[in-house]
Symmetry: C2
Subunit: 353 residues, 2 copies
């Protein structure tokens, strides 16, 4: 029996609705498989937790997480309770950084039954590899003066190691796919970090002569996501550019509610973390209509990471059979509830057994 | 007779095809008006100029431009000849900065006859007000070490004055439109500059109680441009975010070939500069198929700036009557040439006379 320990952090808002749904799906899959068992432990860390404890997680929070095989996160943030930069940096980004989850992987593809806002989405199937530990999201900077002379400075920091690592991951992924890597740059406007990014990309590309490459400025690239998404295979991007492109990827799929992501620790020292791209969506909390697909597709990425790619692929097929049959939450134009979608996925999984 | 002096800088690639086209249109408009006369002076500054002179413009280039009423630019850049950060910072960005063109205005709207890649573009009509002088496009930063320890650092610099100025411009524009301003932020990830941006936005908003406001993180905002562009009126954004959103705006309109922009000097000390959003498109140079609409719509923005809003509106109506009648270049799915589109616009302008 292969036992996998998972730390569930539902977090805020609809995170608390979709994490339990996806957990049920994972338990179903384990039962079908027979030789697999998940052991989930729940952590209530969230903005409400902050209000009580003045921190997003306890002092020994990271210590308590570090021996899990994986972390399964819902959504963090509720600006009515805690400013975003406090809640995010105290939980989501803290875990990404301290557990050296230096790569963030975010696929976007046409999903059966889900209407893309694009007239002709064709068959796009792309993956964004986002550098997840440095770049524009640095903790370096500050403000000086108050009033009319006030200035804020933020330093973007790019290391060769960090940049190379993300790019190598992208090339590696592309070698098992359509063998094409696009680099998201902005070296025409941002004159130190981005020319550096370009030069590392050129160096790394030389190690993978079988992969074709191109570089696109982030402005043009964003427009191409709308006009020609089918042209892309793997896109490697900085922390900020990867963030923007992955929401755009979710947008062209039809809803941010279905997009998954994986924060990968590549050196094996710490657990990786799996979280959907969507936020806590306070506006729809408690109505039972949160789209569980993002979290369930995220569960598929966790299965892949645990070496269970076959199960992962089966899960994605079942997701698509359910959406393809018209089981859709309101964000996708349907009128099914979180529970109905989840139950349908579970019952179709059981049928496969 | 109102005489307006304009410095034409066609620049590179298709800039040399569309600037003459739009200049002809402007001359036609002046002739129809009767009391208006443009005096164009051509400057050959470009990447080819660089190859000969080792600089993008002569030493006294700025001096030669400074007394013009406006600058009418085509496109700059040809990476086969000169690295982008050299050509752009030596010409386009140099003029934006030295002439204190601190605001960049970029509209995006549904244009008759132009097919949007969105299934349901509805009637979006938005304007991006981009801070054009500071932010992420700073000249501050550098690289240290070579090889595996190499680091690149880029400082984003936001001043209260620069930020306020862009925001005030946005509120001012909104007060003559749908009275709504959206701020593009990323304060959940970028922890000094963006919370500062948010706080300035809150302060400026207080001066305009009649304008409704919201703040959206750039990732979510990019997705909304695809899923709900009709929800926006005026969007105020930093240099980088404005750059990304305006290409996305062009993308959802149907082609970057039609999008215009104005770089506004707000203190009246120097000329403003008008340039389309598209680049020099080396791949289609010399084939006579460059879309002139971006440059001609840009001419409309220059007319507006010169206080000739009525003429500007007429020009945009004529542009739409031409595209609406199916006169389209290949980028829009048509098979008309630059010259055919331009001639049609000119002949319809003359008919109005
Ligand atoms: C060419 C480049 C430097 C420029 C910019 O980023 O400002 C362009 O993309 C634009 O939007 O005018
Ligand atoms: C919430 C925010 C800090 C986060 C990010 O920008 O990384 C989110 O947008 C994401 O993409 O996971």
């Amino acid at each position: 029996m292969k036992k996998l320990t998972v730390a569930n952090i539902p977090g805020d808002g609809i995170g608390r609705e979709v994490v339990p749904a996806a957990t049920e799906v994972l338990n179903t899959i384990a039962a079908i498989h027979g030789g697999l068992k998940f052991e989930f432990t729940n952590f209530p860390w969230s903005c409400e937790y902050y209000l009580e404890h003045n921190q997003m997680m306890p002092d020994d929070g990271m210590e308590r997480l570090k021996d899990f095989d994986g972390i399964f996160l819902g959504a963090v943030g509720n600006i009515k309770l805690v400013p975003d930069h406090v809640s995010l940096w105290g939980l989501l980004i803290k875990i990404r950084r301290e557990f050296e989850q230096v790569i963030n992987i975010r696929p976007a593809k046409v999903i059966k039954g889900v209407t893309s806002p694009l007239t002709n989405p064709r068959d796009f199937d792309l993956i964004i590899v986002r550098e997840n530990s440095e770049g524009e999201y640095s903790e370096i900077g500050g403000r000086i003066y108050r009033g009319e002379d006030e200035l804020a400075i933020q330093n973007a920091v790019f290391s060769r190691k960090g940049t190379e690592r993300a790019m190598q991951h992208a090339f590696h992924l592309a070698s098992r796919r359509k063998k094409r890597v696009t680099s998201a740059t902005k070296s025409n406007g941002i004159t130190y970090s981005m020319p550096f990014w370009d030069s590392v990309f050129q160096d790394v590309a030389k190690e993978y002569p079988e992969i074709s490459t191109d570089s696109q400025h982030i402005d043009a690239l964003s427009a191409f996501f709308v006009t020609h998404p089918e042209k892309f295979d793997v896109i490697v991007a900085s922390n900020l550019f990867g963030d923007i492109l992955s929401d755009l990827g979710a947008g062209i799929m039809g809803s941010v509610g279905i997009a998954p992501s994986a924060n990968i620790n590549v050196n094996g020292k710490y657990p990786s973390m799996f979280e959907p791209v969507h936020g806590s969506a306070p506006d729809i909390v408690g109505r039972g209509v949160a789209n569980p697909i993002g979290q369930i597709w995220t569960a598929k990425m966790m299965l892949d990471h645990f070496g269970e790619e076959e199960l992962g692929n089966t899960l994605l097929e079942v997701i698509e059979s359910v959406t393809g049959a018209g089981f859709l939450t309101p964000d996708l134009g349907g009128n099914h509830s979180t529970k109905e979608i989840t139950d349908e996925i579970i019952s179709r999984l059981k049928e496969l057994d």
